[in-house]
Symmetry: C2
Subunit: 710 residues, 2 copies
């Protein structure tokens, strides 16, 4: 798009704010709006174009006014996307504003999260209690339900937290995965109790991010026919016109990824094409759909439309006045005329009817299929089945020590039969991560009811997809896996798990230089530290069998925060006193002396045995020693002061920690007098025992460090 | 690809290891191999197919034997890719084994880095001194030049470190960017002193990773005609056949991204098609080229070809013997027949001639264009121009304080005229990151000589591209920028900078909750900690003008390690005694008392002023105070014990640090008795001053923490 051309388009568009085709639409078009609408719940009424335009302008001015008042925000997207959003929320989507968590609602994701005011305007206008006009006026203020970017944990009606570009469309893929899975698992030929669409609005930025291609490729592979993405093709990003860096053929790319692709050339005024495109998308049931919708960013603003000035800054008083004049919008700031509310809030009645209809279906299902209904109800309740944790095995020192990735496989396969929501897989490392649930097949086109997911080499997309699977709110407990080092590829998605308060289980194997020959590109060093630093993320590095069981117990129990479990490639012994309960406390004593110890050894995972062996050496030399297993800093930090003093008494300053990772953060536990044996450089390519020796992570090293303190 | 079909193909292929079309090629085809070959340097001789097959089998068995001996590694890719690699290295590429750093060589990147033995086999056979047969026998052992994945800093002839999938193809884009830039900047109609291709072999994994789409989209946008990627389409990844997760049309995707795309259907034996495809790719000068080459992974192995068993595990003695028999390879382990060496090492003569020819061209260029030649020679020497750092401005407390992102803009624009290698840009945040060099235009198709690069919203691809720009080895000093939070999208590329020892400058703005209204998705919390933990990464958070100058000084001077500079959105004062020299020491005293201080305040960046103000409060109350500015932990840790004692005397245990980030790691400096004022939770959406107040990062908070110690 040439900028001169774009500007001309802009001028034309603002010169004719009223749509070309006015009047009531023919009934045929009206029917096409919702071809799968249920028989009972009334389809949305198609309003006159004039009336629709009033609603659309109301959306625009709520956004404009809120951004002006906040003195920051993004008015351009809401102004450009208001028409497609109107068609989605008022004519297409099934939802109940008075019960935003109704299970069978259509899901909506604003992947271009900076356009949050679009979503808040819709929530307000459509009658959600979460966003009042006062909330709109508190846009981007402390403690409001209308933060700068949509946050699922703050605002009922917001399905997922978006903002970092590309995450939302991947979350949408995850929502569609959840729907497809549950539908195939529970629906019967005569009873569709799981049956909804997932809609997503994404922008140029989402499409530039590689993560969106990862998830889109999977969505195409899986043939997720009930996923419909609308691509707001407005040709503007922060640096200016997208032609300075983004000239690929997005539609052709999606077609290559196996999507059904359409183009609505005038997304500003051509409602009929929008309706038809959505109807077509619904009619294609074996492919996800992309509808490229060409819009004018900042539509209606005489001087700023189609420029990056309208992307991320308030219009300002003068331009707002000019826009009001241009769009013939006579209402003052934050005022919405009654006819607009009347139209928009028809969604309340419609939603209640739809939900009532579904409730009836569910009741019929319960009567006819009581066993399946019980499982379904239990699952979507989000409550864990009673006694699930009893499935986890325990070990004694007599049990031959395995690698913790092997114990992880045992735990997964022990939990799979008792946790109906457990579902997940690896980014093409299943044989190394050991993440297959042996009693299930693959989630694939035609076998959506299965629970092993094959993500391919797409770590970032994987993380964002599993976030969506949790946020579907139907009791799915997803896990996903790769080598620990490749968390570097998916860090933003993992942070979104933590921020969004979703209990994803990250199974991360090959957790140190113990990986050996693959070398420094594959050896995590700073990764334990980097996740320990991340808010609301539980980072657990278990030792042997009982602690791996404990790690799983913690991860499954924590449905509001994600857990990353770092697992070894190499074997380790089942030391005495290792326990699942110990993991829940973060750190605990596994070997002790009588009286105050002379020295405390601490260790995690595969190096705990070095701490233990070093303690035995010093014990033989007459020292009083204690060994603390320290699988999880976060959980330890949450313990009482008394418990902490009982594990690490202040009086004992001789402390040695050993871990095949970087030192950062350990000083909090070893103190200024303590020693840390680990690795603060990159690793190298060699067999693991050689690396441990060369980098000094040895029994001798731990013993010497301790002796140096006496 | 159906697995049954694939297996059939496998059987056919191993049944006829000899190629269908034998004999010498017609002279026309021979000429087509290198249409741009120089007149003087002799083109590579095209050997008989029989002879080529002997060379190809030698490559395969070196790889097989080395992996067997190492008891780990990836034989499958070398066995499948040996034919295309032969055509590249023996008939196509221009390089001098005896001078691996010769400036005008063609660059080769093995993006599928796990196939490292392919590259080592080529380096050995083609006469590079870096890889002897003994080195081959030391594959994956401590201190060898043949680590598990190729490492640029260990093995001359390896251009870039690869292993994490998708990075290599993006590095290749960066290499091609560097070539295009230098070519347009220095070449004359009668003198092409910069003129080489960049070749890359990538696999299915590289193509599944989103990062590759990001960089490929840019390569297409930029029209990098001298970038030629060969896609090893072998249909196998670790989880099995790629059809379980990867069924998109890769060729169509690249076409949509603006690439010229071809398909060689039999990459195992059809050398003529390989040659033609490469010739065609070279003939297309305005688009990068993808050549999809369908191969058989583990070609020649009767029982393991076309299975994932051959991907990442040794063939083993029995299957190796069967493969030797199948391919009629009579030579024992690690033995290469003389005729093979003779053919392969013709590259030494050819390379010397090509380099001699280029030397002559350069001499002529120097004579005719002395000024340009001087700049060129200076630039590619990699040495910084004398006195460059004098261009950096200094500030006094009288200078009105700006945001450090604004100071960063000043530094960039001060350095641009004196650093001819400075080149870079932002991931679509130039107006926020303030990263435009005002005297230059955009690097775009037709204006490759310009130095502002527009990366679009593609952080990960950006990072990997700039790594390639450094590794071109021509003195380019790239910087790249985004919001600090979005380092989460590009962490693997940043780690690759650190591991590969390349001095990229990461300009990361909006470095805390000071970002304000955009909310927690945009507010870094754990990011300073996470980069401080990363080996070989300099993490600098400067305060005001002089420290931002110092940060740039450090970043530019460190050509062997990357620097991340965290910069504020909000303004801060130029406190007394802030200095560039102080940054170089990591931490330094900016305010002091006479005698041993009662308390030490520490701070970084935008919070240093809180430390300073708190010190003034306590000073007024009669306490002896010291204030330490602490912009860089890594540099401080490298100082002498005496210097460290002079800044943070052990005797002073009352220490308070303040930083709008997480506490992790600070205990090393504040000790067990110290206090840290910061934020260990996610942020929120509100104006920045409100957030600082609500999260307790205030003057009052710092003062109280200090007073509590008395």
């Amino acid at each position: 798009m040439q900028s001169t051309m774009s500007m001309r388009t802009a001028r034309q568009a603002v010169a004719r704010p009223a749509p070309a085709r006015a009047g009531v639409l023919p009934s045929k078009a009206r029917r096409s709006v919702a071809p799968r609408a249920s028989a009972a719940a009334a389809p949305a009424k198609v309003e006159s174009v004039e009336q629709i335009m009033r609603c659309v302008n109301a959306i625009r001015f709520i956004a404009i006014d809120a951004v002006n008042k906040a003195k920051s925000g993004h008015p351009g997207l809401p102004m450009g996307c208001a028409p497609m959003t109107y068609v989605l929320w008022n004519e297409t989507m099934k939802y109940n504003p008075k019960d935003p968590k109704w299970f069978n609602r259509d899901r909506f994701v604003l992947s271009a999260g900076h356009g949050s005011m679009l979503q808040y305007a819709m929530l307000h206008l459509c009658g959600f209690d979460s966003v009042s006009m006062d909330d709109i006026k508190s846009f981007r203020q402390w403690d409001s339900t209308t933060p700068g970017h949509p946050e699922n944990f703050l605002t009922p009606g917001v399905e997922v937290t978006t903002g970092p570009l590309g995450q939302g469309i991947c979350n949408a893929v995850g929502l569609a995965v959840a729907e497809a899975h549950l539908a195939q698992r529970f629906n019967k030929p005569d009873a569709k109790i799981v049956d909804h669409y997932t809609y997503c609005i994404m922008g140029d930025g989402c499409n530039m991010e590689g993560i969106s291609t990862e998830a889109a490729s999977l969505a195409g592979h899986w043939g997720l026919g009930k996923l419909i993405a609308l691509y707001d093709d407005n040709g503007i990003s922060i640096d200016g016109h997208t032609d300075i860096s983004f000239t690929e053929d997005v539609s052709a790319r999606y077609a290559a990824l196996g999507w059904h692709v359409q183009h609505v050339k005038d997304g500003n005024t051509d409602f009929e094409s929008l309706r038809k495109a959505i109807a077509n998308a619904k009619a294609v049931t074996d492919k996800p759909s992309l509808i490229k919708v060409t819009t004018l960013i900042g539509y209606g603003s005489p001087n700023k439309a189609d420029t990056h000035d309208v992307h991320g800054a308030p219009l300002g008083a003068e331009e707002t006045a000019a826009t009001r004049a241009n769009l013939k919008w006579e209402y003052p700031e934050f005022e919405v005329p009654k006819d607009v509310y009347d139209v928009m809030r028809s969604s309340v009645t419609r939603g209640a009817a739809a939900q009532a209809e579904w409730n009836a279906s569910l009741a019929a299902y319960k009567a006819k299929y009581p066993k399946e209904a019980e499982e379904f109800t239990q699952l979507v309740s989000g409550k864990l089945p009673a006694g699930w944790e009893k499935a986890l095995p325990t070990y004694t020192p007599e049990d031959k020590g395995l690698a913790t990735r092997q114990y992880s496989q045992i735990m997964l396969n022990a939990l799979a039969p008792v946790l109906p929501g457990l579902m997940g897989g690896s980014a093409d490392l299943a044989p190394s991560n050991l993440t297959l649930m042996k009693m299930f097949g693959d989630f694939q086109k035609g076998t959506y009811n299965e629970r092993n997911v094959r993500f391919g080499v797409r770590e970032h997309g994987m993380g964002a997809i599993v976030n969506g699977m949790v946020l579907h709110g139907s009791g799915i407990i997803p896990y996903c896996a790769t080598f620990f080092i490749f968390t570097d590829y998916m860090r933003s998605a993992m942070r979104m798990s933590a921020l969004s308060e979703v209990g994803v289980l990250y199974v991360m194997t090959h957790d140190s230089i113990g990986l050996g020959e693959d070398g420094p590109t594959h050896q995590p060093i700073e990764h334990l530290a980097s996740f320990r630093a991340m808010p609301n993320m539980l980072m657990i590095r278990p030792a042997a069998g009982n602690e791996t069981a404990g790690a799983y117990k913690v991860a499954i129990a924590n449905r509001k925060r994600p857990t990353t479990i770092a697992l070894s490639r190499q074997g380790m012994p089942n030391l005495p006193n290792l326990s699942s309960e110990g993991v829940e406390k973060g750190a605990y004593v596994i070997k002790d002396s009588s009286g105050t110890p002379d020295v405390i050894f601490m260790g995690t995972g595969s190096e705990l045995e070095l701490a233990y062996a070093a303690a035995e050496v010093l014990e033989k030399e007459g020292k009083k020693v204690r060994v603390v297993s320290f699988p999880c800093w976060e959980l330890y930090d949450e313990q009482s002061a008394a418990y902490k003093e009982s594990v690490l008494p202040k009086a004992v300053t001789r402390r040695v920690a050993v871990e095949a990772g970087c030192s950062q953060g350990w000083h909090k536990y070893i103190g200024t007098e303590g020693a840390f044996i680990g690795i603060d450089t990159f690793g190298a390519s060699a067999p693991a025992p050689v690396l441990y020796e060369k980098f000094g992570i040895t029994l001798d090293g731990v013993v010497k460090a301790a002796k140096a303190m006496f």
